[in-house]
Symmetry: C2
Subunit: 403 residues, 2 copies
């Protein structure tokens, strides 16, 4: 039921980055469920991780290993290795050690990522067996295979590429893949994103660029408000291409393209949201701060009543108004509030507009994607948040997924 989303036909290779995939029958046999990204010695790596206090074992280890010089990223689907205690840590470490043995690295140079069901231990013997030999098959054009291998309940593989002019006649390439069908997939934790560029970028600049892009993309989407234990987004600069730093004239173009690519991946996750029939943008303006605009956007995006109204295509704006009113904002006055659906104005200065015609708003909500505009009349800050609706299918997926 993905909304206006098709899988990419091809993804651009990123010089310096190679992918391999393998089958370890982690959840079930018959599909690749391991993906390995191999980076050259020139690479730098940045990452952002879940804020969930109970981060899964692989997330904790990846965070620690980021302090070294990462040269390989191993991702498995089918099992999140979360809530697995000490055994989970040992298993994730064993995966890192096996990859390191294959590639002649230290285990601390390998970052592990897992996505799938929470609370079950990994089939570690099958996994370490499958890892052996993966390096041999690694290829520059393995991005699409990797995008498929990391899927869980995703219905569409997610990836995108960009080429960026960074000045002086130099170009860099950038490709990213992501998985996720909800902030948590049914029974499965995780949104994962992996982006690489061939530019040579120092670690601190790379982290700054990722933080900026992430805030306006992955950190601005929600399916169900359930922040997972395994969320991670990684940005790798292989160093095979042109050098770039934050002081260069080409830097804003790089950050802009990165943000756009990350947003495309993030919105692909929402379009493939569990049971989604609508792709909804919340555009909040007139806020006193960006944090405030985001808080209002997320409160509306998380409201089950707004989400079911979107599913029904019912322009029930009272639910939007009520959700804005319960947002965690001090001294919010209704007098400055405006609400519109695409170009149909409904509320202005806190009053229902005399010229509002419900049939016009119903036409907007019948569209597969639309924007809910919310003005707060308190300042000039704004933010955009993307979400999906709440359908029967969402309940079915999450109630029936585990046997």
């Amino acid at each position: 039921m993905a909304v206006n989303l098709v899988a990419p036909e091809r993804l651009a290779a990123v010089p310096g980055a190679r992918w391999a995939i393998a089958e370890a029958a982690i959840k079930k046999p018959g599909r690749a469920d391991l993906a390995l990204l191999i980076l050259p010695d020139t690479a730098t790596v940045a990452g952002v991780f879940t804020q969930n206090a109970f981060a899964a074992a692989p997330v904790q280890i990846a965070r620690r290993h980021m302090q070294q010089a990462p040269r390989a990223l191993l991702i498995n689907s089918g099992n999140a290795n979360a809530g697995t205690g000490r055994q989970g840590e040992q298993d994730a470490q064993a995966c890192c050690a096996t990859v390191a043995g294959e590639l002649g690295l230290k285990a601390e140079q390998v970052l592990p990522f897992s996505t799938g069901v929470i609370g079950q231990t990994l089939p570690i013997d099958r996994m370490t067996s499958a890892i052996q030999g993966m390096a041999e098959s690694a290829a520059k054009d393995g991005w699409l295979d990797a995008a498929q291998a990391i899927m869980t309940t995703d219905t569409v593989a997610k990836g995108a590429s960009r080429t960026v002019d960074i000045g002086n006649g130099e170009q860099i390439v950038m490709t990213g893949i992501a998985k996720g069908s909800g902030m948590i997939c049914p029974n499965m934790a995780t949104m994962l994103g992996f982006i690489a560029t061939d530019a040579a970028i120092r670690r601190s600049d790379l982290q700054q660029a990722l933080a900026l892009a992430n805030q306006a993309s992955f950190n601005s989407i929600t399916i169900d408000g359930d922040t997972s234990t395994n969320d991670a987004c990684m940005l790798c600069a292989t160093g095979a291409g042109a050098a770039l730093d934050a002081g260069q004239a080409g830097w804003p173009a790089f950050v802009g393209a990165l943000t756009e690519l990350a947003r495309e991946l993030a919105c692909a996750i929402v379009r493939d949201g569990e049971g989604a029939t609508r792709f909804i943008e919340l555009a909040v303006s007139g806020a006193a701060s960006v944090d405030e605009a985001r808080a209002v956007g997320f409160t509306v995006a998380h409201s089950p009543l707004v989400k079911t109204a979107c599913f029904a295509g019912d322009p029930n704006w009272g639910r939007i108004l009520a959700a804005v009113g319960r947002a965690p904002i001090a001294d919010l006055s209704i007098d400055g509030v405006s609400i519109a659906l695409d170009d149909v104005a409904i509320v202005a200065d806190g009053q229902p507009r005399a010229d509002y015609v419900e049939a016009n708003a119903a036409k907007v909500m019948a569209r597969p994607e639309f924007t809910i505009h919310i003005g707060l009349g308190r300042g000039s800050a704004q933010a955009r948040i993307w979400t999906s609706d709440l359908s029967y299918e969402y309940v079915r997926i999450n109630a029936e997924y585990r046997s």
Copy 2:
């Protein structure tokens, strides 16, 4: 689909308090949709109101009129008079004035309450007509009629009575009614509660007792997290019975009975929650503060993934763990966390228990009501939160309710 809930067969009259009902065809004809509570001159009234920044017109007026000596409460169902701007305020004032004219009061002595669809103006002419003559039919035993008149999408009328020994051989009586089938009913805003006792209690003591009872009852339930624009709970002491104050030996018995009655009404709302098939208690212990325990309980209670797992009867404890991990608690460590379903221990000291057998947990979750115990291992504070599951029926009610 109410869970273990039947309407009360009778409710005890409260000396001094009289109810009248009437039909104004506010949403549709054929049922009583107005209820009027008339209080004697000896009465004191306490109230708690929604924290939604966009409180409905009647809530704003009731808050202001509370500063006077309220003598009458008018409740209408079928229309929330919320998001209605200046017209909404005028209409609510007109209702108060009409009641005041009938009873020989000032308009400021009448408190208005509304529940129903948001964003539509009241049919004020039909309402003021219906109000005329209501006072004549007011009766001491009108509690059950009133409980029915204030229903919206409730499937079961909600009410309860208590008799309390307050020492010195004296007894007081206490009856309450409530409506609500979600923090917001479909398209309709509101949880309302009206409780009266015949005791004579000064206003400040009464307000303190209500605040305590409310925190452990109405403020501890959630269906969908959508705090409404119209929530209100009122406590009236008619003064027809024994005098009571906060310094008296009988005071704890009074507050205890009030809390118990309020909790019964609050839990009745959850049992009649939209689409509910399960009544779930979150018992959070080992917290550093009550606020912390409540925050964890609400985060789990709002998780769509936990709620769908409850609907499925699936002991998917990873979803509970993930929700606890994203609760807004600083420095939460998994090492102290324990999770149990009724008497089936699942996680201890942050580790899955070796003796856990999933079939036992599945038996618990097959029950229509059960408790999810969550230990945080950080302190001695605790809290209980009550909620319902997320079912197909919830989506149907909220997607199909409005034509």
